[in-house]
């Protein structure tokens, strides 16, 4: 089984931004994404989603250059005003060619 080295981008953000960020990701051409619920605290203290009490964790497996693009976009659009944490990790993916969008 060949594993392909790709990048896992994880974005933790306010529930409010979920649909918008997913739309952005789709525009970038990702082949898929995974969502899960999370809560947490960060530097911003309370915020609107404090009422909903939820963050959302978006995980997306992409090749290196798409990862860069996503990170760039997230930084530009959301970092100033919203609670967003984003990081990347190297992962070795089965059937990795699926994600080479």
């Amino acid at each position: 089984m060949e594993l392909r080295e790709l990048t896992l981008v994880t974005i933790i953000t306010e529930r409010l931004l979920r649909d918008e960020i997913i739309d952005r990701l789709k525009e970038t051409g990702v082949s898929g994404y995974t969502l899960s619920d999370a809560t947490g605290e960060g530097s911003r203290g309370i915020r609107a989603s404090d009422w909903e009490g939820k963050n959302v964790k978006i995980e997306v497996i992409v090749n290196h250059s798409t990862a860069e693009k996503i990170i760039q976009q997230i930084s530009d659009e959301y970092f100033e005003n919203y609670a967003v944490v984003a990081y990347t990790q190297a992962v070795r993916v089965v059937r990795g060619e699926k994600y080479m969008s």
């Binding site: 309370i46 404090d50 009422w51 939820k54 005003n81």
Partner: protein, 318 residues
């Protein structure tokens, strides 16, 4: 005085207090989020349904006056709130309109608490009151969010915020419920009556238990927001309430109806408004608007405010 104590002893208000106490005692009590969301959906839909059924029995004539002043108050109150915050409180434009958006909108739970309160005193307010909630929910938020738009300093997306408000779950459920209730009418409504009407007050007890816990978490922010906002969160609702009573009685609302209208108008939304503000004015500080509407005005209204509006309405209604 008696009517005040009577309000404090209602299971709903007591449950709110229990929620606050549980958090202060650092209890591990937690209402699961899906249960809480389920209760919100249930309560909003139930208000809408009941309102729709009542509306189907109301003549347009009786409704048009109250509908008009509700819209009027939806435009006036955020402007009043904005002016006070900006010029009396010397707050910046962004935060002033963020807070004003909340006070232009309406807290559904405060509305329900007011209905329950006057009903417990033996009154039955006008059947179309829930319709007024739906009318009041949207314009106030929009008016307040337009202000920074005018000077081009919103920095968020006004259009997206507008969509959020109009298609937000509270409006969909309230308006949707209204239409369903109106179309179904009293006879077809009977089969769902036990679920949506008999169970209502009890579900409200659970809901306010959670709201008490949410409010308690907000209490620690009270210090941060300062004494001006504390005063604002109590006095402005009274001001708006008196305005609502005056206009309400003028267009022919009963004392009970005017009391409920006052509670609605004076209250600040903490579901629809925060989401809209977060989108349209991301730079506004949530500590201010959430603490004011949820930490100050909401507990004030459901404990002391509503009985006060009732007393004023009785007094002005003579």
């Amino acid at each position: 005085m008696e009517s005040l104590i009577s309000n404090f002893a209602s299971p709903v208000v007591l449950a709110f207090t229990l929620g606050i106490a549980a958090k202060l005692l650092k209890s591990d009590l937690e209402i699961p989020k899906p249960l809480y969301q389920g209760l919100s959906i249930y309560l909003l839909l139930a208000i809408g349904l009941k309102g729709g059924v009542e509306l189907s029995k109301t003549s347009l004539n009786a409704f048009i006056g109250p509908a008009f002043i509700t819209l009027l108050l939806g435009v006036l109150t955020p402007l009043i709130a904005y002016a006070i915050l900006r010029y009396l409180g010397r707050m910046d434009m962004i935060n002033s309109s963020a807070i004003a958006a909340h006070y232009g909108s309406v807290s559904a739970v405060t509305f329900i608490a007011a209905i329950s309160y006057v009903e417990s005193l033996g009154y039955s307010p006008e059947g179309f009151m829930p319709t007024l909630v739906a009318l009041l929910e949207v314009p106030g938020i929009i008016v307040a969010l337009i202000i920074p738009q005018l000077s081009n300093s919103g920095n968020g997306s006004f259009k997206k915020a507008l969509h959020e408000v109009v298609t937000g779950s509270s409006i969909i459920l309230l308006l949707g419920g209204l239409i369903i209730g109106f179309v179904a009418g009293p006879v077809k409504f009977e089969s769902v009556q036990p679920f949506f009407v008999s169970g209502f007050q009890g579900a409200l007890v659970l809901f306010l238990l959670e709201l008490g816990m949410v409010t308690a978490r907000r209490l620690s922010d009270l210090k941060k927001v300062g004494v001006f906002l504390l005063g604002f969160g109590i006095l402005v609702p009274i001001l708006h309430g008196v305005l609502a009573i005056w206009l309400g009685l003028m267009v022919g609302l009963s004392v009970a109806g005017a009391t409920v209208l006052a509670a609605m108008v004076s209250s600040g939304s903490y579901i629809a408004a925060p989401a809209a503000v977060r989108i349209a004015l991301p730079k506004a500080n949530p500590s201010y608007y959430l603490t004011a509407s949820l930490g100050i005005t909401f507990p004030f209204n459901i404990t002391i405010g509503i009985p006060i509006y009732y007393l004023i309405a009785t007094w002005m209604g003579v």
